[in-house]
Each structure stands twice: as structure tokens, then as C-alpha cells.
Symmetry: C2
Subunit: 208 residues, 2 copies
Amino acid sequence: MNNLKYTVPKATLQRFPVYLKALRKLDNLGVQRIMSRELSEFVDIEPTTIRRDFSFLGSLGKQGYGYDVSALIKVFDQHLGGQFEEKLIIVGAGNLGRALMNYNRWNHVVGEIVCAFDIEANKIGSMYEIPVYPLSELKQHIPEGCRIAILTVSKDVQETVNLLVDAGIKGIVDFTHEHIQVPKGVKVKAVDVVSMIQELVFETNSIS
Amino acid sequence: MNNLKYTVPKATLQRFPVYLKALRKLDNLGVQRIMSRELSEFVDIEPTTIRRDFSFLGSLGKQGYGYDVSALIKVFDQHLGGQFEEKLIIVGAGNLGRALMNYNRWNHVVGEIVCAFDIEANKIGSMYEIPVYPLSELKQHIPEGCRIAILTVSKDVQETVNLLVDAGIKGIVDFTHEHIQVPKGVKVKAVDVVSMIQELVFETNSIS
DNA sequence: TGAAGTTTATTAAAATATTCACAATCTTAA
DNA sequence: TTAAGATTGTGAATATTTTAATAAACTTCA
């Protein structure tokens, strides 16, 4: 696996999860085959863009027929890490961290949340069956092979990031409000509701 | 305001919130002026890209000097809707919805969360000083001029979206796990942790 | 079985986005 | 006040991404 013919464009990479999500929904609805034109209306991406995107993962469709939904899902799962069973950690066991622990769709999608960390002593313990350790014991408790952390702390953000990078984390899903810096080789995906609203406001304004 | 010289490229639009966030941090650190080269290291975007991006909002810098941080922040605030005092609503008062209500950075950044809605009767009431109404009373209680909704429901997702669109919502920050469909003219920003992790996994794999 | 009708995969063209390179213009320090 | 030094803003060049166009190949129904 992971022997992609050529490098996949960044733009395409960002659309893969959108496709996967849509395909899962279609699968649930009982749809067994789909054509790029149909899928296009569903995800609001041009059919030709969809076909090109898919082509980076191989020749997944059949002429005159379309794509087999469940086969597509399998391929995407494979390439998007579905089989990797990523070991994830949550850093910050506040409101948001707890809400995320309570998400029940983690397993068998990308992996599982193994444990969480927090500075504040009164949050240490176990929540929703996920153990919460003191941040000071990060290196002791971080799961073997753990590469991705979900960051929901609200204080000492950059310091915490440094600790994570030090512990070998390669990807951070960043829920903080602050701007964080990481060395080359570490990826950050910022989840900032405020920023998203700003984008929405700006786009809405630009249109009218 | 909002009389931009030309249309701002989509790619640039997505970077604006990144700049604003970084500039706020710099401002807090007491930095009063900054050059594109310095800012570049901070946000990991090429200096020339930064300058071009800024140029869409006007001639904000001075040759041989750089940019005035607080002046920049003002301009961005203006264009990113900081002055609009958006009226926001949260739809879905579950774990995540509550966590978002508890965020304390809303005010004077893009606007305020005026109220929330939920289907389940036992969640109706008031949380963190934000009133929660039954979804059936959406049209009664939706604030005047409200354009943006934050969606955190876990059931009947598409049905809820339809209600929102019907009520005049133009932008949705989507925290659900499902794929949603909206008519042209309505924008969706999906916040999907699972998708983000998938992107991270994929990127990390692509590199090695 | 074969011909008509579809739809993919892909080459080529168009549109977007990024980066280069440098003139214009500001700062700063003597 | 002026000259040296620095950095912006922007045409031009490059790179990337999207879209158009179509040949190849599959399905389906008579």
C-alpha cells in the first residue's frame, strides 16, 4: 500500500475526506454504484475534478458504469489511514477535551483515543473510560507509535506544543485560540471556530 | 467599507484568519512593527505571498519599514467582520454545543452567541447565561439579522440544516460527522476532527 | 452477439496561485 | 539634509490546479 503513482496534489488531499464522508453516507442509504456526475451534486465538486482526484489512487471506476461505492470506500479507507489504527492522545481535559473524548465515532475510522493529559490535578483520573494523566508524565504514558495529538489546552499553549514535539508527535489537531509554531516535519491542522466564522463572514460579504 | 479593489483570491481568503491570529499574538507580545520576512517565519508562509495577500486590502506597509502591527490588526478586523458584531446561534446543546458556549473568546472578535437550540426537552433552559430554546421555536427566537449557525447536533442532521436554511442562515460551521447538503448561496465550513486526522495521517505517510 | 449509449481516464487548454525580481519609496543615521 | 540601506508593492515568470474535450472501454438491451 501507499505506493501512489505520483505525488498527490495538496488540493486533492484535502478533498479526500470529503469524498469518504459522502461515500459513507451513500453507502448507508443503500447506494451501491455512483457516477462522478451524481457524486458531484452531492459534494459540490466538478465531476471532472472528482475523476481526476480518484485517478491518483488508481483506476477505480469502469467506463459506462461509474464507481462501486463500497469498493471506493475500501480504497479510501486504506489510503486515508483507516487500517492504521492510529493511537491518538488528547492534551487538555477541559470542556472541549471531554466533549471530544465522548465522541463515539472514533473507533475503526482512524484509530482510537488511548489516553489524555492535563496539567490540572483535579482533572486527572479517568473520563468516559479514557485515562487522564498529568502532563508531566507525558513521556511515560504516551502510547507506542503515537504520532497525532489533539490539543485543547487553554494555557501555556506553545510550551505544551514543545513538549509534544519533543515526545515525537508528528501531527497536531489544534483547537486552541492561539497561533502555535512547530518545526519542519510536524503538521498542524488548526480548528478555530472563530477563524471559520471570519471566513464565512468574509465570503458572505464578498458575494453580496 | 468592503470596497476591495478586486476580488480576493480564495486561497488568500483562507490565509487571512491565520495572519490575524498571528498578529494578535505578536501584538500581545509587544511587537509594534513587523516585516514580511519576520512574519513569514512566524506563520510559515513565503514573504512575497504575505505581501501580495496584504496588497489586496490596500497598501498597508511602508517601504524600508514594514507593517505596523496594530494598524494591520485594525484593517483585518474590519475586513474579517470584526466590526460586524455577528449574531451567532448554536444548534445542538449536547456536550460539544455546551463546550462551545463556554468559550469565552467570542465577544468582540466576530460577534456573540445570542442563543442556542436543541430538540431534546431536557436541554432546554439556560446554560452559561445563554438561553436554549426548542428547535421547533427556531423562527421565533432566531436573532434579527442572524446569518451564521454553529451546528453540533448528532441526529436528524440534514433535516436540521434544512430548517436553518429556511430560517435565512447563510453560513454553517458544521461539527457533525455527516455530510450535509445546502443550496447555492449557503456556505458550509466543516469541522471534522476525524477528517483532519485523516489528512494528517495521509500527509505524514506521503512524506515518508 | 452486436450496436447504441454511457462514463471513465487522460491529454491538452485554461484558470488560479505562487514566486521571482526589481523599481519605487520609505527609514535612519551621520 | 542627504546618502546608504532596507522593504514594500507589483509586473512578469513559473508552478499548480481546474476544466474542457475526447478516445477508450464498459454496460445494456434488443
